[in-house]
C-alpha cells in the first residue's frame, strides 16, 4: 500500500506548535505596542478653532500659564474665558481674521468650541490644584507647551503613567517657584535625590496608591 502522507508530516504538529508560539508573541507585541495610550493618544494635536500659539504667547512673550489658566491652582479645569483673550486683543491685532471667532464669541456670548486634548475618562477624578500646589510642574504631564504652536499630547495619561509618579514622587517634584516654569529642572535633577526626598517629606507629599485615590 502506498504511503498516504509523506514522512515530513510527522514534524507538522511540532512546526505548528512553534508557529503558534511565534504568532502569539507577535500578536502580544502588536497589542502592547498599538493598543495602549502611548500609541493611541500621544501625539494627538487636534486643529483648534482659533490658531492660538502657546509658543508665541508663553515662549516669546513670557506670559505665565496662570494668566489664562487662572483657576488651575484653586479650582481645576480652566479653559480661559473669551474676555481673557480680549484683555490684550481689544487693542492688538484687532482686525486679524484668525481672531474672528474670538470677537464673535465676545459679541454673542457663546463659547469658543475649543477641542479637548487631554481627555480623562469620567471615572478618573483628577484635580490640578493639589498637584501644582505640591510641586508637580505643568511640564510633567503637558510637556513643553511653551514650544508648541499646536498643543500636542505628550504623555499617555494612562493609569501606569499616573502610578509611576505616585509611587516615586521624589523623581518628579520641583521647587514651588518652578512649578509653572516649563524650562525648570526637577529637584532631583538640580540638587540630587536627597534634596528631593527632603522636599517630599517637608511638604508631606503622600500620593495615594489606593483605587479610591482617583476612582470613586
Amino acid at each position: 500500500m502506498a504511503k498516504l502522507f509523506p514522512k515530513s508530516i510527522n514534524r507538522l504538529p511540532l512546526q505548528l506548535a512553534v508557529y503558534l508560539v511565534v504568532v502569539v508573541c507577535v500578536a502580544t507585541a502588536g497589542v502592547t505596542y498599538y493598543m495602549t495610550p502611548k500609541y493611541t493618544r500621544v501625539g494627538y494635536a487636534p486643529i483648534q478653532p482659533v490658531p492660538y500659539s502657546h509658543a508665541k504667547h508663553v515662549g516669546e512673550l513670557g506670559l505665565d500659564c496662570r494668566y489664562c489658566h487662572s483657576t488651575i491652582d484653586t479650582a481645576g479645569a480652566a479653559v480661559p474665558t473669551t474676555q481673557t483673550c480680549m484683555n490684550c486683543h481689544n487693542q492688538i491685532k484687532t482686525a486679524s481674521p484668525a481672531l474672528a471667532l474670538v470677537r464673535d464669541s465676545l459679541q454673542s456670548g457663546r463659547s469658543i468650541p475649543w477641542v479637548h486634548v487631554h481627555v480623562m475618562p469620567s471615572f478618573v477624578y483628577f484635580d490640578h490644584s493639589v498637584h501644582v500646589n505640591r510641586g508637580v510642574g505643568c511640564v510633567e504631564c503637558h510637556g513643553k507647551v511653551n514650544q508648541m504652536d499646536v498643543v500636542t499630547q505628550m504623555q499617555p495619561m494612562s493609569m501606569g503613567f499616573c502610578l509611576d509618579c505616585h509611587r516615586a514622587p521624589e523623581l518628579r517634584v520641583r521647587a514651588k517657584a518652578d512649578v509653572f516654569n516649563l524650562d525648570s529642572k526637577t529637584i532631583e535633577a538640580a540638587q540630587g535625590i536627597d534634596a528631593a526626598r527632603r522636599f517630599v517629606h517637608d511638604w508631606n507629599i503622600r500620593p495615594p496608591q489606593s483605587c479610591s485615590g482617583c476612582h470613586r
Binding site: 494635536a45 494668566y67 480652566a78 474665558t81 481673557t84 481689544n90 492688538i92 471615572f123
Partner: protein, 217 residues
C-alpha cells in the same frame, strides 16, 4: 510552513506601515481601544462637569451662572457668607466714598506682600511692567498707552479706587475680578504701593546696616 511565515511577516509589515510608530503627530480623534458602543457608560458618563458642553441648557454649557442676588453658603476669607463688608468687597467706606488703607480683616504683612507680588507678576506685569512703569511686554506688540504708577495722581489715589479699577476695569482695561479673588486684589494693591514707594526712595531710606551692600557710607 514557509508560506505561513511569509504571510505572517507580510501581515506584520502591513500593520506597521498602516499604523506607523508611537509618537507620530495626528489631528484626527484618537483611536478608542474600548469603544463607547461596546462598553457604554463608563468612560463618558452622562454627568455634567466643569466646562463641559450640555445639550440640556439653551446656551449649550454645563456651567451655570448663579441667579442675581444669590448668596453663596460659604465664601470669602474666614468663610464670610455674606459679601456685606463694603470695604473688603467694594473698596468703599461707610459713607460711599473710596476707602483709604486696607480692610481690617486682612493682615498686611510680608506674606501678604509676597502674595501680591506673585499675583501682580502673573496678571498685571504683562501690560504694566514688572516695576509698574507701564512698559510691559505687550507694549512691543501694539498695546496702547498704559499709564505708569509713578505719578502723583496714582500715588495719592485711594486704595479703594484702585480696588474698583481691578474689579471693574477702566478704559481699555478689562475687569480682573474673575482672576483675582478680593483678598488677592488687596494683596496686589499692597504690592503696587510698595512699587510706588520703591521708585521715590532716597539714600536716607536705606537702613544704616545695609548701606555697605550698596557701596554707600
Amino acid at each position: 510552513m514557509r508560506t505561513l511565515y511569509i504571510l505572517t511577516a507580510f501581515a506584520v509589515v502591513l500593520t506597521v506601515s498602516l499604523l506607523g510608530f508611537r509618537g507620530r503627530v495626528f489631528t484626527h480623534p484618537p483611536m478608542d481601544v474600548f469603544p463607547e458602543w461596546a462598553f457604554p457608560g463608563m468612560k463618558y458618563q452622562p454627568k455634567l462637569t466643569q466646562q463641559t458642553p450640555s445639550a440640556f441648557f439653551s446656551d449649550g454649557r454645563a456651567d451655570r451662572v448663579a441667579p442675581p442676588n444669590t448668596v453663596a453658603s460659604s465664601y470669602g476669607p474666614a468663610g464670610q457668607p455674606l459679601r456685606n463688608d463694603s470695604f473688603l468687597y467694594q473698596g468703599r467706606a461707610p459713607d460711599g466714598t473710596f476707602a483709604r488703607g486696607f480692610p481690617p480683616v486682612l493682615k498686611v504683612d510680608m506674606r501678604f506682600l509676597n502674595r501680591g507680588r506673585d499675583r501682580f507678576t502673573i496678571y498685571c506685569s504683562p501690560c504694566h511692567g514688572l516695576v509698574g512703569d507701564g512698559n510691559g511686554i505687550v507694549k512691543k506688540y501694539g498695546m496702547g498707552a498704559v499709564p505708569t504708577y509713578h505719578d502723583d495722581r496714582l500715588r495719592k489715589m485711594a486704595e479703594g479706587e484702585i480696588f474698583g479699577t481691578i474689579t471693574n476695569g477702566k478704559g481699555q482695561m478689562n475687569p480682573y475680578a474673575d482672576k483675582l479673588a478680593p483678598a488677592d486684589r488687596w494683596a496686589v494693591i499692597a504690592y503696587v504701593r510698595a512699587l510706588q514707594r520703591a521708585q521715590i526712595g532716597t539714600v536716607s531710606d536705606v537702613p544704616d546696616d545695609r548701606k555697605g551692600e550698596l557701596g554707600i557710607k
